[in-house]
Symmetry: C2
Subunit: 543 residues, 2 copies
């Protein structure tokens, strides 16, 4: 049997667009004598469809689209993810389902059993779990069809399990010839190894090949990295799709090998690919073509400019330098040099006259109070206003350039440097920004060396350095990770070898800046816990 | 038996603070020969604790706090809401629970069975459902203890039920003398009648009195309105607490009547109370004392100023007028008159010089492109920057003043008039803003009559009126309600009697402004569907 793993890039909510891609892929597959095309999870709606699922008209329309695809399956099978209405009297009323289409009819429908409801996932908000699972019959074979999370509850693999049921076991106990898992599993650093080991183990344990089609593309904060593949019953990868791009991967059940594309190996390379994909798709799927970036001459904005040029092409990236009284000459020089090397449009808009006019207008109201964070923030917000004005006038999307360490500590200005449509590296800690910049410069110097060698500074007051306000990043970042990603508390972090008052202050700082993060633009998620959709903290709270 | 319904105002995350309130209340009750004190849902942690539940150290600390309360219960019982660890091998690992403390020990623990996971509720994200329910034994009586949503699945009351189980039925089938429901049920307009009818029906059907303690106070977007009460087996209210404030309500099971405080009846009065409570608690619980408001001389900002004065006292409210070239004289006059009537500090900070400096700095970059929304937004963002500067300099919280109709249509400026710590009326549609203003002026004119009579305008370009860009609000608001609150689609709304292209444009406008709402400050929720935490829409999406 010839199976095509259709690793496609859908658009959330775009039912007709996604239907067209599905139909084109099926038609193409028919010309290649494919028996079965396997699409990713919720192919029709895109993933995650979020509250669109609560709209009855949306679910109905998605059913109509499935019915429009069905006639295309003469002589071929297709597994398509969609929203299936739940007609019983209790529950949410919708399943997250896979339809097996075949010979112009819906052959069987398979609902998701395990509904991830943690971090960025809200599936219990929308879906009812499958009451039971049954293998599908297709061309004399028994297919064990599961959906994403269904495969993530293997008793042998995990310690504490999130769910009581194991739908993979339920399926294999009914004898299956082939396991098929359709997924929309987002990229995070370090996750691929976990997936590899788990898939391999499951295929081996059940002695059944595992076909796994994953979504590819960026949807808001989430980046789906593809890496669709087939594991044989020995737990080895037989065929493997390209990662971070669309791909159609052929798997012939009668062959012991096939297409095996090399995947992105090195961590920084993978992170770079992920960010470029997430950035490109967000800009495109929001209907934009060009972006504008405020270039401070520092590391973060330089890196974002490099990513944007890679993702969108240099003709679609505009860099703006906005020097003020505290901007060093080297900063402006570095920003100019970077744009020269990248070949992007570059403009200098000094903010000093505007800053002065604010100070004059506010002088009598400030009553001789000394220069403080107020005046720092005014400068940052002037820059935000200018970038937004260019966005309004020319239709650019503003990219904000803050990193995760800053966002954790609130070392950033709301409506200032935080302004923008997408926060490209807001889930990348500062130490990793350095690593990524080194990766960018691995073959030739793209980001000027002086950007990498100078101590980080916001340049919002005289001789300011990040380290005046923050611990050095190599000290800070592991603490942030412990508190934010690993859910550790004060005692656990102190036990890592720090002074109590030092950690107390950092935790207090992280906690008290929830209000800023609440109003941050969406940021691309690359770690196991990003600020944003999967981070839900009270703002007004005590300790 | 004498029962005290302790309708207290907890702070989310403030375990020690909440513990103190609980202990003080128990001590006070002991002096009054109370048998049992009933606190609201998740008393210890505050509600909603959100992702704090995922922190192991937080759950452990909450258990320690419960253990600190237990010794206080000599000769008295207390039902306290807290997070109970789930020691079994599967699931999230935490229950949303009620501990019955009595005579210095934990007499029994009762877990929540039904976990609301819709709108602003994420309980399936955090909690495991109770495997089963059993009545508690207390002083010879059988108490059917349930938690909030547990009572919201009565088969006779609802058509389609969200859950298969009905824990109230499960309890009453085991014979109970008294039903006790501890809640954290947020205020929305129209909800109280639903609760009244449902509680009454359940008490009558099971022929058992129902004791119901609800939380009071504001926590971020949510306003809890109290209204704790007891329904007798005839479904009548026997005792009733004050609404929108803390209260300790006595219920004597041997008496057929008791304290019965009148509740806020009229819709606008109730809305006014709710907004004041939400505003006051957000400001206080965030650690602020004073607020600053940009006063345009229009209806929205005038109303917010009135609410702020009521909630915080006139000495804690500062009004700022920021006129520019398009500001009418009448606007500034009305703003001044309002502040005079309210007796609040008032400052005028003209933005014309700053606006001019932006236009000059941007002139060459704008390449003679005509005046458009860019220049409108620059003005709004200057005002946002000034308010934030005053916030930074003097420690004020900025209140933003946009209404729900604007936020739906994106008729507002990100980082401009949307800037602030709390969006006070962002869930109040413009037509309801008028009603509320009329309520404010019911006895004497507080908001100047000319504010109410002039057509709404943003005054960001010459002779601008809202109706140049938007349909009249009495037409628009029902359409927004249909699409946002009632989940209706294009066809349903057209069937309400509108032209298709007219509705298509409105829906397109609502959909395309998701990016603005994503970065909006938290807003007080007063309708069944507010933008914000309970509204989760993709930003990059197709249609």
């Amino acid at each position: 049997m010839k199976i095509l793993l259709a690793q496609i890039n859908t658009i959330v909510g775009a039912l007709e667009h996604n239907t067209r891609i599905i139909i084109e892929t099926i038609r193409k597959a028919r010309t290649q004598n494919i028996d079965l095309v396997v699409f990713p999870e919720l192919t029709l709606t895109g993933y995650p469809p979020k509250d669109l699922v609560e709209k009855k008209w949306f679910v109905e329309k998605n059913v109509h689209q499935l019915e429009a695809i069905t006639p295309e399956t003469e002589g071929i099978g297709a597994i398509v993810g969609y929203l299936a209405p739940n007609q019983t009297a209790e529950g949410k009323g919708t399943f997250n389902s896979a339809a097996l289409l075949c010979d112009k009819s819906i052959s069987s429908v398979h609902h998701k059993s395990l509904l991830p409801t943690y971090d960025v996932f809200d599936e219990a908000r929308y879906f009812d779990p499958a009451p039971s699972v049954t293998p599908a019959l297709f061309r004399g074979k028994r297919l064990g069809i599961s959906i994403c999370e269904d495969i993530w509850n293997d008793q042998l693999h995990w310690g504490r399990r999130l769910y009581k049921r194991d739908p993979i076991l339920e399926l294999t106990e009914q004898r299956v010839d082939l396991m098929i898992n359709i997924s929309a599993s987002p990229f995070t650093l370090g996750k691929r190894q976990i997936k590899h080991d788990m898939f391999s183990q499951i295929a081996r344990r059940h002695q059944v090949p595992l076909v796994h089609t994953n979504l590819v593309g960026g949807n808001d904060s989430l980046i789906f990295d593809g890496w669709s593949n087939v594991f044989n019953e020995q737990g080895e990868i037989v065929v493997q799709a390209r990662d971070f791009q669309e791909d159609l991967l052929l798997y012939d059940t009668d062959q012991t090998s096939g297409e095996h594309h090399p995947t992105t190996k090195e961590t920084m390379e993978r992170l770079y690919q992920a960010l470029c994909l997430g950035l490109r798709d967000y800009v495109k799927k929001c209907g934009f073509k060009q972006v504008v970036i405020g270039l401070s001459g520092g590391m973060d904005s330089s890196l974002v400019a490099v990513l944007a040029v890679h993702a969108l092409g240099r003709e679609n990236v505009v860099g703006i330098s906005m020097p003020a009284r505290f901007t060093s000459e080297l900063s402006t020089k570095d920003a100019a040099e970077l744009t020269r090397r990248l070949g992007i449009e570059y403009r200098v808009i000094p903010i000093e006259p505007i800053f002065t006019s604010y100070l004059e207008s506010l002088r009598e109201h400030f009553k001789d109070k000394p220069f403080d964070v107020t005046e720092e923030n005014i400068q940052a917000r002037i820059r935000g206003n200018i970038l937004m004005a260019l966005s309004n006038k020319f239709g650019y999307l503003v990219l904000s350039t803050g990193n995760k360490s800053e966002l954790a500590m609130g070392y950033c200005t709301l409506y200032g440097d935080m302004a923008g449509g997408l926060a490209v590296i807001s889930d990348v800690p500062k130490t990793m920004v350095y690593e990524l910049a080194a990766y960018v410069n691995r073959e030739r110097e793209i980001i000027p060396a002086s950007v990498l060698s100078r101590p980080p500074s916001a340049e919002l007051r005289k001789n300011q350095k990040d380290e005046d306000s923050l611990p050095p990043y190599p000290v800070l970042d592991p603490i942030i990770k412990a508190y934010v990603e690993d859910h550790k508390g004060l005692e656990d972090i102190v036990a890592m070898g720090f002074e109590r008052s030092f950690i107390e202050n950092i935790i207090k700082c992280i906690d008290s800046n929830e209000y800023k993060r609440h109003q941050a633009p969406p940021g691309l998620k690359v770690t196991s816990k990003a600020f944003g959709y999967g981070w839900r903290m009270p703002i007004a709270k005590g300790t």
